[in-house]
């Protein structure tokens, strides 16, 4: 094992690890909850227009009412949101934002972006309110038949 090949091999290994970290970073999936409900930031209250059509990363735009919420699955940290106010002024806003890697579910406030609130309030960590029936319950019934229920053919 010459010194040269030792160095080369460790470089290759580090390269692989770096690549994995990079893939992790650009591949991390997030769930975006696009919310049009009114929100108060630093005392100032922002409310969205009657109906707006919102499109994430150039996907199919979705029209949303005053206090609605839609979900979108996205991959990677950098995203683009285009909001177009349908009723009245016809104002069109396109903004870029970044989601921190380890944030699984993020709340995107349309009024904050439309109203030009400070950037850090656009995307906030979504905290699941306890009251709502956690979606996990009904998933349980589905697995009751665990894999070890008497399998017909006796596996070797």
């Amino acid at each position: 094992m010459t010194a040269r090949s030792l160095i080369q091999r460790s470089c290759a290994l580090l390269g692989l690890l770096a690549l994995s970290a990079f893939l992790f970073y650009i591949g991390k999936g997030h769930t975006l909850l696009v919310d049009t409900a009114a929100v108060t930031i630093d005392g100032r209250e922002y409310s969205s227009a009657e109906t707006v059509s919102v499109s994430i990363d150039g996907r199919e735009p979705e029209s949303m009412g005053r206090a609605e919420r839609t979900m979108a699955q996205v991959g990677g940290p950098r995203h683009r949101i285009t909001i177009e106010v349908v009723s009245g002024g016809g104002q069109k806003v396109e903004q870029r934002f970044v989601i921190p890697t380890f944030l699984d579910t993020a709340l995107v406030s349309v009024p904050a972006i439309l109203g030009g609130a400070p950037r850090q309030h656009w995307v906030t960590k979504f905290v699941a309110p306890a009251a709502e029936d956690a979606p996990a319950e009904e998933m349980q019934q589905q697995e009751q038949s665990t894999v070890l229920a008497a399998p017909p053919a006796i596996k070797p």
Binding site: L16, L19, S20, L23, F24, I26, G27, K28, G29, H30, Q73, G75, G76, D104, A136, M139, Q140, E143, Q144, T146, V147, P156
Partner: protein, 363 residues
Amino acid sequence: MSSRLRVFFIDNAVAILILLLIAFALPVAKLPASFLIQEILMRLGRDTFLVLALLLPIMAGMGLNFGMVLGAMAGQLGLIFISDWGIVGIPGLLLAMIISLPISVVLGWMCGMIMNRAKGREMVTGFILAFFMNGIYMMIVLYAMGSIIPIINPELLLSRGYGIRNVVGLDGVRQAFDNLIPLHVAGLKIPVFSYLIIAAGAALLIWFRSTKLGQDMRAVGQDRGVSASAGIPVERTRILAIMISTVLAGIGQIIFLQNLGTINTTSSHEQIGMFSIAALLIGGASVTKASIPNVIIGVILFHLLFLVSPMAGKNLIGSGMLGEYFRQFVSYGVIALALVLYEWKRVTRENDARATLRGGGAA
């Protein structure tokens, strides 16, 4: 002339038999051509890489690598981890492959070592090793994960709090490779990027055959004694052949599952070994000789039969199950026939070899 014809028939007995079966079952099944072609195109993209993984051990004289299931397990573990961490798209699949690399390297090395201790019985040893490792894989997936191995995403776990669920959805990476370069020709969806990966795999094998290690494998495959006396490290070369085959099987399994879109954690890896080997043999390969054309023809014919026989069974005798059983019979039967032909030819070749030595009456 007749003896050459006889040799041709024996060598390609398997492929000819399957062609006859398809020719018979195709009209009876009455399946629309476009459906068949679309399915075959998709399945070519899905299964070919797995069958490619079988070529190296055949070249190195270790026969059909039933131990490739170990690679499939490594690939599946990789996918489980990335769906746990929520990595999506192409980066998710690549990360799954990188995770599966160390696992399949270690498993491949272990499989190679064990096969070296059972020279002459490599295939049945690989077959039993696959069952043995299946037990260990189930222990890891159903008991260690969630308890010892931290799993972040609770949705992946069984209701009892540990062990991975029976079915794991791969929504984040579903058909990521297939749709990367979408191409629609005459209404048929063609998974271009998957074909590119397969082409890359085939190129890698062709390039590998021309390296010194590839040459050593060919030599070891034909005569271990002579290779050893020439100084080739026979044991190491065989282990490397199995390691590479296991790694390729891991990657192949990831391509296979991204096309399917779901993993059923305890069973989707078990049939892989048998289906891939049956496909390779249908393509005209034998236990000692296999080439890339055998792989491609094999996958096409195998899946054509796979699609056609249940429908033929239903239309002919009115029960789809019959076609299903017939399909499984053909898969097992093809491997049995290929093994019998290989051993039978080996025995007759040994007798012929001695016959040429025969002094004979002609003093």
